[in-house]
């Protein structure tokens, strides 16, 4: 019975076995020719390691597909089920054949590598035993997984892509995959380790292989193989569309997560001055060969000034964390010019500025830092068009209200009166803020939005405006889909209502009224 099954499998898949044999032959050539041709560095066992990493997974995957997946896809398992043959035995024969084939190939490669290295390497029994154990465990693990994978039928490809993508993401995110059980067995030490038996890695690998094999048998046997048979059915068009969408969304989220998890390179600034105020940390340095005494003093002063200023801001907005602020003094910058160092969000904010320029405008630097810090703090959500009026208004209001302690409405109204209010100004103009800003001009738009916040502060009180601004700008949000979802679920009008009890329509009505009676602008 078993012989018949084995003969059938060998005959049915003769071409594939021959193909794998050719691949193995290539591997043996690699092992054999390595010492003379230096195809890979190190001894002949490095080539064996490459064979195990490259050939074994491919062979396991191919054997899993032809022995299991093809049987279920062609429904020929239904023919076998009609014969006096227990289902488990059919699966066991396939499993044993696949595993034995790869193990034999690995044993052949190991024996060949040993034979080639017998005059150049100290072939102790322990070394050979270690190589054999590690190779066998690795193959057991890979084949176990491929065996289970083959039962997934129409979801094989998707599952394979997800696993592969998961590995890529993990390695990108700095996870040391090579240090994990099975991968540790075939790492760079494979060809050289002669003494230490990686008992833990071996046991983890063996357990994982067992789980894979068990899962495969379970899928093949549970509910009289109806699960495996159903999985092997062709995918419907609807299923294809849904899975494609899910895969796409999943990949986007994964890419974002990886980007977030990626180890952020620290910003190195030799000779930098640091100042901390609450959660705010400011680091500054002069990007010049030999800073003068005045430059050193200016850097030091700016560091403490901005730390204090931003510290007050963070405290006002109830920030639990704040992006690190880096200042770089540049002689070549003009007064009032601030250059963006374009750091990654996790690194912080870097401003390039000439701190010793004549007519140095400290408020320009402060405005720039406030704006860019809060954009990062909000996970870039403060820049969304429907939220942007708050950020624009805040950069003006924060300085003119003396950090939220004074009423800035009269000043804002005078400033805003110099510009013409948009006709029929309403909540629609707030939602389409970029268009409004374009009509008003950048500076005027900031003053105009600042007036809105000043009205809110006067009419609803300091506590309400603080709650609103803290909700809009102070919460630290991740710069990915989670931040976006948070903003979708808690839109600006909802946060305004929660903090002040006003709708956007209420606010714009009061806004119009306040500016309509605004005092004449100062000459």
């Amino acid at each position: 019975m078993m012989r018949g099954l084995l003969e059938k499998e060998l005959r049915q898949h003769a071409f594939t076995f021959a193909f794998l044999g050719v691949l193995l032959l290539g591997g043996l050539v690699l092992i054999g020719a390595n010492p003379s041709l230096q195809l890979v560095g190190g001894n002949g066992f490095v080539a064996l390691q490459i064979l195990l990493i490259g050939f074994a997974p491919v062979a396991c995957l191919v054997l899993g597909q032809i022995l299991i997946a093809t049987e279920f896809r062609q429904k020929t398992q239904l023919f076998l089920e009609g014969l006096p043959l227990p289902r488990w035995r059919m699966l066991a024969v396939k499993f044993a054949l696949g595993l034995a084939s790869i193990l034999c190939a690995a044993a052949l490669a190991l024996a060949f590598a040993w034979w080639r290295a017998r005059h150049t390497e100290a072939m102790t029994p322990r070394f050979v035993l270690l190589l054999a154990l590690k190779s066998a465990a690795w193959i057991w693990f890979v084949f176990g997984l491929c065996f289970a994978h083959a039962f997934l039928g129409r979801y094989r490809l998707i599952f394979g892509v997800v696993v592969l993508f998961g590995f890529l993401c993990a390695s990108q995110a700095g996870v040391n995959v090579a240090a994990f059980g099975p991968f540790q067995l075939v790492d760079q030490r494979f060809a050289y380790e002669r003494l230490i038996l990686p008992a833990r890695a071996l046991s983890i690998t063996a357990a994982l292989g067992l789980v894979g094999a068990g899962l495969g048998f379970m899928l093949g046997l549970v509910r009289d193989a109806t699960v495996a048979t159903l999985l092997a059915e062709k995918m419907s068009s609807r299923e294809k569309i849904v899975l494609s969408m899910l895969a796409l969304i999943g990949m986007m989220i994964a890419v974002e997560q990886v980007d977030r998890l990626k180890a952020v390179a620290p910003v190195l600034m030799p000779g930098a001055v640091e100042a901390q105020h609450g959660v705010v940390r400011v680091v500054a340095a002069a990007a010049v060969d030999a800073p003068s005494r005045a430059e050193t003093a200016a850097v030091d002063a700016a560091t403490h000034r901005e730390a204090e200023s931003l510290g007050a801001l963070a405290e006002y907005l109830r920030c639990r964390s704040f992006p690190t602020v880096f200042l770089v003094h540049r002689r070549d910058f003009k007064s009032g010019d601030v250059g963006d160092g374009e750091l990654k969000p996790a690194q912080g904010v870097l401003a390039r500025v000439n701190l010793t320029a004549e007519k140095q405008d400290d408020s320009a630097l402060e405005r720039w830092l406030v704006r860019h810090s809060l954009i990062i703090q909000s996970g870039f959500m403060a820049e969304r068009e429907r939220n942007a009026w708050v950020l624009d208004g805040f950069t003006w209001w924060w300085t003119h209200s003396r950090h939220g302690t004074a009423d800035a409405l009269d000043e804002a109204a005078r400033a805003a009166a110099r510009t013409s209010m948009p006709a029929d100004f309403s909540e629609r103009d707030l939602r389409a803020w970029y268009s409004t800003r374009k009509k008003l001009g950048e500076k005027q738009a900031r003053q105009f939005a600042g007036a809105g916040l000043a009205i809110l502060a006067r009419k609803k009180g300091a506590k309400s405006i603080r709650n609103f601004l803290a909700a809009m700008l102070g919460e630290c949000q991740p710069a990915d889909t989670r931040g976006w979802w948070h903003d979708v679920l808690h839109p600006a009008p909802a946060r305004l209502r929660a903090a002040t009890g006003w709708t956007e329509a209420d606010l714009t009505r009061e806004w119009r009224a306040a500016l309509a009676v605004a005092p004449d602008p100062k000459p």
């Binding site: 019975m1 049915q12 020929t76 398992q77 239904l78 023919f79 009609g82 006096p84 043959l85 109806t226």
Partner: protein, 288 residues
Amino acid sequence: MLQVRGLRRHFGRVPAVDGVDLNVHEGEIYGFLGVNGAGKTTTIRMLLGIIAAEQGTISLLGETTRRTSVAQKRRIGYVSQEQYFYPWMTGRTLGRFVGAFYPTWDKEEFSRLLSVLQVPEERRVSQLSGGMRAKLALALALAPHPAVLILDEPTAGLDPLARREFMQLIVSQARQHRRTTFFSSHLIDEVERCADRVGIIHEGRMRFEGALAELRETVRRVRVPAGLDFTPTFETWREESSGSERVWILRAPVAAWNEFVPPPGSAVEFLSLEDAFIACVGTRVVAL
């Protein structure tokens, strides 16, 4: 020879087979009738141990189990509804492969059957027509001299000529070797021509089991003019009503029919096997 008691199997919440009882006597040809989805294939798959029964017992060849064992299966010949042979195999290689599973495999008999059935031994399965494949499946099922032959709609997809030839072969084999033969079908004429006894399954339950003659004798149509008071005391299989008359299809023992006095103006008629089958598996109450 084959006795089934209370066989039950669900797929999800749907009861595919719901308490089936069967009695197949030694040497008889048993026709298992039912419409598509009635539960025929599921019952057969349980008889062969391909799927397990959730409840019930199967007594086959003197052994009673919940699930047919491999040893029992070695004495059963099976022809499935669709033939999923390995397309690269020829009739000969297929015979060699299947033969390895049966201790009683008769190589000469297999060759003889292929020759009788005119199935080319050296042609690949992928190059055989549907009829040829069905014949090849029959040869594979008969070559080990099984005590029981089970066929699941073996003539599905065959043209009328091939179907008739195929069934004739099955009948002749069964008669010649006194082989117990159990075959499912939804074709009344096929069952009428070949079967000694029939079982009718509908929605997973057995509705009738017995000889065809018994079905003809015990199931009759009673036509009663509208307005006449009549309440049947026999088992009602179907009830129809139109403007002028009411029609019942009733089942009762022959003795009961003999004593039955129909209401004045009414008529009692015998049914064709097809009408009896439709009455058995169709909607119980029909308003015309």
